[in-house]
Symmetry: C2
Subunit: 389 residues, 2 copies
């Protein structure tokens, strides 16, 4: 008897390992699959294939989506058809660098502005995190304006951040990682690395930024002491800023970002050294007076990526929850937020799609209320999650 491997797979999976075999269809034929979760049955469909390390996703109000691929491609995708947008700035894709975030201006429908973050090279081959905006005309990015470049180029292609989120007042936030080997940069107020920035839509600095009066701190800095914020969102109702911090081993955290606060990295961290298992070398403590406490410690390693909030009511059992994607952990954490003594806390934490899709790079709520997920693989994909009655 001869069988196609995929057939053997399904048979074997059903018979032998239901948990683990969520992943059976990561490659190969994929049809919409249903999953039971704690309170919500869901259907997951792969809607775009063959994406090379896709990083971020934006939904165009006129239909279609923009997807960044880390090697440096911006794609317009509609009904599975991809169109590459040309006219991007010079991008050096190395390590974790490349073309990263894509985000629409809140008044995109009126002004057409698309914002991108990327690793910008200099003549020495070092890179800095940069923010650019432009408008799509046909298959080209036009009217491009470089809005921000971090103030120090450096060598390793690591820890760029860099998510964008929009506050209710029309300013935007950009996260920048500590850029790698010198984590103390996150505590250096004269270095953009390891911080969240707040800018006007044109890249200028709002005069109510927390440190504009402080000569020793760069004016763009809104908060600092972050290793590598890979998930960032603003609650549309409350303007609360939620961030998921990619710590060292086991130090992955959910933070509420507040102006002027120091989030501690690398002096205060929950993470362990990758080699020795001890407290991280620079770390003095797991907590400290004057350092913002995390809202939640992910506990088992959950290197976070995209962060979404469920808001439309389409998943009524998940409404108001945060969905935090994880890379190595290959799952989404559904976090239910409550309050205690005037502070937010996570009151429930569910693992979704454990091992089913692979490394999760981005999680977004679409305008249709469905959840969209990008996977970080050389042959990554975009998945759509629908609720099932």
């Amino acid at each position: 008897m001869t069988r196609h491997p995929a057939t053997m797979f399904v048979i074997a999976c059903v018979l032998f390992f239901p948990l683990a075999c969520n992943a059976q269809d990561r490659q190969g034929d994929w049809e919409a699959r249903q999953f039971d979760t704690e309170y919500q049955q869901i259907s997951v469909e792969r809607i775009v294939e063959d994406l090379e390390h896709p990083w971020s996703l934006a939904f165009l109000p006129e239909g279609g989506k923009l997807i960044t691929e880390r090697p440096g491609r911006l794609l317009f995708v509609e009904e599975g058809e991809k169109t590459r947008i040309t006219g991007l700035p010079d991008i050096l894709a190395r390590g974790q660098g490349g073309l990263l975030e894509v985000s629409l201006h809140p008044q995109y429908a009126d002004n057409g502005w698309i914002y991108l973050t990327y690793s910008k090279p200099n003549d020495e081959g070092n890179t800095a995190l940069a923010l650019v905006r432009g408008r799509i005309e046909g298959e080209h990015l036009a009217d491009t304006e470089e809005l921000f470049v971090q103030n120090r180029y450096s060598r390793p292609g690591r820890h760029y951040g860099s998510r964008i989120a929009w506050l209710g007042d029309g300013t935007l936030l950009v996260s920048i990682g500590d850029r790698g080997p010198d984590p103390l940069r996150a505590q250096d107020a004269g270095d953009h690395a390891g911080s969240v920035l707040r800018l006007h839509e044109d890249g200028s600095v709002p005069d109510d930024n927390p440190f504009v009066e402080d000569e020793e701190v760069l004016d763009e800095i809104y908060s600092y002491g972050s290793r590598n914020i890979q998930g960032l969102l603003v609650d549309p109702e409350t303007d609360d800023i939620w961030a998921t911090e990619h710590g060292p081993r086991g130090g992955d955290l959910l933070h509420l970002i507040e102006p002027g606060k120091n989030y501690g990295w690398p002096v205060v961290t929950r993470g362990r050294d990758y080699g020795t298992q001890e407290q991280f070398p620079h770390a003095d403590a797991r907590r400290m007076e004057g350092i913002a406490e995390p809202v939640y410690d992910f506990g088992p390693t959950h290197p976070p990526s995209g962060l979404a909030m469920v808001t439309t009511g389409r998943f009524n059992r998940w409404n108001g929850n945060l969905l935090a994607g994880g890379l190595l952990s290959e799952r989404i954490r559904r976090l239910v937020i409550g309050t205690y003594d005037g502070q937010y806390e996570v009151v429930h934490d569910e693992e979704l799609l454990l091992g089913a899709l692979g490394r999760i790079r981005d999680v977004r709520e679409g305008p249709d209320g469905n959840i969209y997920v990008l996977t970080d693989h050389a042959d990554g994909a975009l998945y759509r999650i629908d609720p099932v009655r």
Copy 2:
């Protein structure tokens, strides 16, 4: 080309889903397999097969092991050969009930006492958690003495506990669950359900138990307010008592058990109702004055089973860590304990063997320093984990 399904498996797994395919060999041919963990490469070998819902494990100093099977069998196992021990008391195996814990007296080498917990039926077909001891003579359990029976028989076969651990003073602890549908039993000091008991080796009550002077509390009770403690151990160096509490959904906790304390169930819990996702119906709060705080909240559901401490130095990177088995979560959580402000806290949490073995029922450190794991399946097994250089 025709291939054996298992072969297809391995090929498919290696190609397509490395995380998920840990489970490839849960059934079928099993050879020792190696796994990378954060700080320790390990080898896992299945050493006893075809165990029907094995529950607990004890290592005999003269060689060989005792294994309980929940349906009511006590097995002596040596070099893969099983011998069934007869002479057990009448056991009603229903739901989570049956033959549960096996534990050796600390001076077993001198006195031969073996302790067992099980669900004991009455004439109405209700059950109570009971503790018996006996000595093995040949293939028979001799000299059996019933040491304790909980003071209320009840119907559903759920939430029995029931682990045994020995304190340095020679007394033993037994956990009893809340027995299911009436969780407020755990707050009823006149009901053994939902507590940790402390007894002399002969079942009598130590006169320094915390409530012996209190007319309203049963003398055996050492602590109360626990839903279903499924992992229990005493740190051999410090006499600290560690317990893993199987909460309702998402309410799985690590506790330090201290005499006379109330652990809150069901009035204080971190769990959510299985149906509504709201706070558990009886719960007033997630914390409360006078209720012992957990040392750790497992966060994502980790219904705990056996709990072990790594003590011998054979796994030098894991020394002093707790290993908490999980049923539905199909993994072991390695917990690194630290202290802050005089209190224990978990400073690191690693997932081991995620999905690789199935439902973990018990985790033990053997006298050889290796880690032994029982899986809760109709065709469960005993696995041995060795460190790899």
